[in-house]
């Protein structure tokens, strides 16, 4: 009886851990080619030199955010990039219930080609494979 209880507890713990791991996973992976695009109303994207500053921009007041602007590039919508890293659920905002992933990218075209930085997962669109060739 006791063994059965232990086994059941271990199974529960494994399930919980798997679910936690699934929740913490990024949907985009390193090496993936993407297009930077914000929203249809405001399509340009900020590329930050640090994911922590990006988080501070999302979390802080407007005045605090403005003070951080020198650390961001404003890239045009449609700029292509390659993903180099991802931190799942890193950016939390007081206006949003769901945390956003921080995506590390390298810009591959446009005036900022070759520059690296961090963008929000919501500012990234995956490219279809045939377009990337």
């Amino acid at each position: 009886m006791r063994r059965a209880l232990y086994a059941f507890a271990i199974v529960l713990a494994c399930v919980a851990m798997m679910q936690g791991a699934a929740a913490a996973q990024c949907t985009l992976h390193s090496g993936a080619r993407v297009v930077l695009y914000g929203t249809s109303d405001d399509p340009d994207v900020f590329v930050w030199d640090s994911r922590f500053r990006m988080r501070a921009y999302a979390r802080g007041s407007f005045d605090q955010a403005r003070a951080l602007l020198p650390h961001a590039l404003l890239v045009e919508a449609g700029t292509r990039a390659r993903i180099v890293s991802c931190v799942a659920g890193f950016v939390e905002s007081k206006y949003s219930d769901r945390p956003d992933d921080a995506i590390g990218i390298v810009i591959v075209n446009g005036r900022y080609r070759g520059r690296g930085g961090w963008v929000l997962q919501t500012d990234v669109r995956s490219m279809l494979r045939h377009l990337t060739r």
Binding site: T39, D41, D42, D44, F46, Y57, F62, A65, R66, L69, A72, L74, S93, Y95, S96
Partner: protein
């Protein structure tokens, strides 16, 4: 009591239904206001984008049209912002109001810090201003999202509240339906029981009526008519009684009496009167003595000191047409002769009050004379204006009436009913006996 309870229950149910309806209507009105605010908020965001697009358009084309567009969007933005603010204030969404303040402040800052510099120097490189623009845009969108969420949550809460109220209404209706159903079943059961009791009572009353009913028997050389009308419309018995009873071949007992009171209680006394007088009359032939003996028996039998009886007792010899009579306070006794109607004298006090002797009087009737005995329902009959008929009126009715006893009795009843507008104040009994002289008949 039961009916009052039902009425109260019904009133409570109706009031509750109206209250629920008002409450649901109020919730719907609030929901409608919230939905309108949601629409206005989206229009506000569209105007914000219009402002930004107008600035961009001017920078790209230098067309003054875009400046007009910009001015129009600014004016409309302020109006819409006021509308959203009013809706949020009405719903007491203080958190959303604060966010709206932030949003409006950001948009005004954007106008001074981004839009105006861009419009003033459209040819200048504006990388920093573009960044500022993007930051404003990001923050305004976030605050607008927060207001959106607040409105959507409130709307959802109201929808839930409406659903809850509708559910409660259904439960309450089901409850009242159950209450009314039970009430109806109880009421029906109670009604059936009462109906059964009434039926039993009616059967009992019919049996009693048959026992107590006044009656007359045919007498030689006489034509007899009678009529009876009870003041209790559903009963054929009351406090009046008459009786015609043959004591021997020639002698007949003639009786009419009026007991104070009405209904079944009085009818029981009348039965006592009828059978007691018959019993006395079989032993005594003197009407005054009959009344005296009855007076003693009445006082010993009836315990109610407020009950009294007026009575006329006569012994009629149908051969000689001699009528010996005594009247205990009974003044509605008349003889109709060819010369007119004569009221017969009272010969003693009413019965049940005091012990006094009752005088017996003798009267010789002639061929065609009619003895008309009535109770006080005749002389005390009132017309619609309250005027009493009195003895004079009764005499006049008898004089004008039919020559035959039964038609006369029926006429007197009809006239009294007609006088009172079909409303009887007191019981009324009529007994009429028309005598024929056997010698005249033989001749």
């Amino acid at each position: 009591m039961f009916t009052v309870f039902l009425v109260i229950v019904l009133a409570v149910a109706v009031q509750g239904a109206f209250q629920t309806r008002a409450s649901i209507a109020q919730t719907f009105a609030r929901q409608s206001r919230i939905e309108q605010a949601q629409v206005t908020l989206e229009e506000l965001l569209r105007l914000q984008i219009d402002e930004e697009n107008s600035v961009r358009g001017y920078i790209l084309n230098r067309d003054l049209f875009y400046l007009q567009q910009y001015a129009a969007a600014v004016a409309s933005f302020d109006r819409k912002e006021r509308d959203v603010r009013l809706a949020l204030e009405a719903e007491h969404l203080n958190g959303a109001l604060t966010t709206l303040d932030q949003y409006a402040t950001l948009q005004r800052q954007w106008r001074t810090q981004v839009a105006q510099p861009m419009l003033a120097r459209p040819d200048r490189s504006m990388e920093e201003i573009d960044k500022q623009n993007k930051a404003f845009s990001d923050y305004e969108n976030r605050t607008a999202d927060a207001i959106r969420v607040a409105l959507a949550n409130t709307n959802a809460a109201l929808a839930l509240s409406t659903q809850t109220q509708i559910n409660q209404t259904l439960y309450v209706r089901a409850f009242w339906l159950l209450v009314f159903g039970l009430m109806t079943i109880l009421f029906n059961a109670y009604g059936s029981r009462v109906s059964k009791e009434l039926e039993e009572e009616r059967t009992t009353t019919e049996i009693l009526q048959r026992a107590f009913r006044s009656q007359h028997v045919p007498l030689p050389n006489c034509e007899v008519g009678s009529a009876y009308l009870s003041a209790s419309s559903h009963l054929a018995v009351g406090g009046d009684v008459f009786d015609v009873y043959r004591l021997s071949g020639n002698l007949a007992l003639v009786l009419i009496a009026d007991v104070s009171g009405k209904g079944v209680d009085a009818a029981v006394i009348t039965a006592f009167i009828k059978f007691t007088i018959r019993g006395i009359a079989l032993r005594r032939r003197d009407p005054g003595a009959m009344l005296a003996e009855f007076n003693t028996a009445f006082a010993q039998t009836v315990e109610n000191p407020y009950l009294f009886v007026s009575m006329f007792v006569g012994v009629l010899d149908t051969q000689t047409l001699q009528l010996r009579y005594a009247s205990a306070g009974h003044d509605s006794a008349f003889v109709r002769r060819s010369t007119g109607v004569q009221q017969l004298a009272v010969t003693g006090p009413v019965l049940g009050v005091m012990e006094e002797p009752f005088e017996t009087k003798t009267l010789f009737l002639e061929d065609g004379d009619m003895l008309v005995l009535a109770t006080d329902g005749l002389t005390e009959a009132r017309d619609r204006s309250g005027e009493q008929l009195h003895e004079e009126g009764a005499i006049r009715l008898i004089e004008q009436g039919s020559m035959h006893p039964q038609p006369l009795a029926d006429e007197l009843i009809a006239r009294v009913k007609e006088l009172g507008g079909n409303t009887m104040r007191d019981d009324l009994a009529i007994l009429a006996i028309r005598v024929r002289d056997p010698q005249v008949s033989d001749a």
